[in-house]
């Protein structure tokens, strides 16, 4: 089982009296792309945020790359460098240029010198198709461009796992494609990814596994053709029917 990069055991999360995650078991092996789908309020974002401990689980264990993050003695700052996260609202540092957004953690956390960090940032910017935007500020970029910078920023830390929290939900429809393309390329290069998404085509085309969550539990977990194409559970069928109606 050593190739399990992420392992979640009996995870619970309560916000006051609101029991959001009700016992989740989930693991992701190296190189696997797992998409988490489900209605809003099902706990899928909370689950993702527990993987890098942005939310502290109420109960249960989270392991990333063999390190137990839920261990009270765990050095979380260090452990978090093995996960990269991309947020729905991009969260680029508004007071910094694109280049500084990507290099700041390399320099301050990994203690790389500026030249090394910037060379790496420029390579990553080219990879997400934004080489010419290095000196721009986030407010000068479109949402899609900001999100691609955010992906480059996360990748710069060379994480073992990438977490995508509804990365395209805040984008205008015509900008979604560019971000999904970058995500697809990343998957093809063998990056391990845990993706919370509403993009069913992406989940079906890219994911190795699809997890359907509802009411704080995993309802169905399997190959995308099965979960999306031929769901076993009534709740999954209903959700997918609603999604198709919207499209």
């Amino acid at each position: 089982m050593s190739e399990q990069l992420v392992r979640i055991e009996a995870l619970h999360k309560r916000f006051g009296s609101n029991h959001v995650l009700r016992g989740i078991d989930l693991s992701v092996t190296k190189g696997e792309v797992v998409c988490i789908i489900g209605p809003s309020g099902s706990g899928k974002s909370t689950l993702l945020r527990c993987v890098n401990m942005l939310e502290t689980p109420s109960d249960g264990k989270v392991f990333v790359d063999g390190v137990e993050l839920t261990d009270p003695d765990c050095d979380l700052d260090r452990a978090r460098t093995s996960t990269g996260m991309v947020f729905q609202s991009f969260n680029l540092f508004a007071h910094m240029s694109v280049l500084d957004n990507i290099t700041i953690a390399l320099r301050k956390v990994l203690k790389q010198d500026r030249a090394t960090a910037e060379a790496k940032a420029e390579k990553l910017l080219a990879r997400v198709g934004l080489a010419e935007k290095a000196t721009s500020y986030p407010a000068q970029l479109s949402g899609g461009q900001q999100q691609r910078v955010a992906i480059a920023r996360a990748l710069a830390m060379e994480p073992k796992v990438m977490l995508f929290d509804e990365a395209t939900s805040a984008l205008d429809p015509e900008l979604v494609g560019d971000v999904l393309r970058v995500m697809r390329e990343l998957a093809e290069e063998g990056m391990t990814m845990l993706v919370v998404t509403h993009e069913m085509d992406f989940a079906r085309g890219v994911a190795d596994r699809v997890v359907f969550m509802d009411g704080g539990v995993v309802v169905e977990d399997g190959h995308p053709d099965q979960v999306i194409g031929n769901p076993r559970e009534e709740r999954t069928k209903r959700f997918l029917a609603n999604v198709r109606e919207r499209d």
Partner: protein, 263 residues
């Protein structure tokens, strides 16, 4: 009456204008301008204020203000971070400090620290600048802390989450990501704090002053005693305005610009 609503409003407004103009004319006619000018703005006395009011009094006011602000800003930053800390005793200390120092008039704090402490302990303030600036900084710190806290809270939560997700510690995220953005937000209110502080320095002279540590207000009061004429106070007031109006205008301009810059 056959007047429409709009016509009535116009009539009322015209009446108000007419009454205002009439009142102004009455004042202009009733006041003895020669006597008033002689008591409030006598040219020979105005000239006598210079250059001392600038080289001595203004200089001291600026020194008190800058020391008070530098100290208050450092303290305010520390208190704001404590106020937002997850460590309860820090929060309690900061909250209590802010409540107490903002709840007591500056004059009282000045007297307690400037006179009370030396009387109680036998310890003497090393020099009048420190004696005046330290209480000023301690009080300014309480006000600035609340401004800084509001600024930090105005930075979107996602900025902290993104920083932490990249492996930054809380302190690192605060210093490199959150506080720099908070400061952009609070520059206009901080400028207003600075203006308040300029005016508050006028209270320092209750601690007693020597000829070399007079501030603008005390300089004006001494001038009134010397000349039996209010002109020195009016001149001091004008010098305060020469300091404060450009700063409030600057703050207003920065506020407009930051509003326009927000998308």
């Amino acid at each position: 009456m056959g007047l429409s609503r709009r016509q009535r409003l116009r009539l009322v407004r015209g009446g108000i204008y007419a009454a205002t103009v009439a009142a102004l004319v009455l004042i202009l006619l009733a006041v003895d301008w020669g006597a008033l000018g002689g008591a409030l703005f006598k040219w020979e006395i105005v000239k006598d204020q210079f250059p001392d009011i600038l080289t001595n009094a203004l200089r001291n006011t600026v020194i008190f203000t800058i020391f008070g602000f530098a100290g208050g800003l450092s303290l305010g930053l520390l208190l704001a971070v404590m106020r937002l800390s997850s460590v309860k005793p820090y929060r309690w200390f900061a909250a209590t400090y802010i409540e107490v120092l903002r709840g007591i008039p500056l004059l009282v704090t000045l007297l307690i620290l400037g006179f009370g402490i030396p009387i109680a302990t036998g310890w003497q303030w090393p020099n009048p600048y420190i004696q005046g600036s330290v209480p000023l900084a301690l009080v300014a710190g309480a006000y600035i802390a609340e401004t800084v806290r509001a600024g930090i809270e105005a930075v979107p939560r996602g900025q902290m989450e993104a920083a932490r997700s990249l492996g930054m510690s809380y302190t690192r995220a605060m210093t490199t990501i959150i506080i720099p953005q908070a400061f952009r937000i609070i520059v206009p209110p901080l400028t207003n704090e600075f203006v308040l502080l300029i005016k508050d320095t006028s209270l320092i002279s209750v601690l007693g002053v020597t000829a070399s540590t007079l501030d603008l207000a005390r300089f004006g009061r001494n001038g009134v005693n010397d000349t039996a004429n209010a002109t020195p106070l009016v001149v001091a007031g004008l010098v305060y305005l020469a300091l404060t109006i450009p700063l409030t205008q600057l703050a207003a301009w920065m506020e407009r610009r930051s509003k326009a810059g927000r998308r």
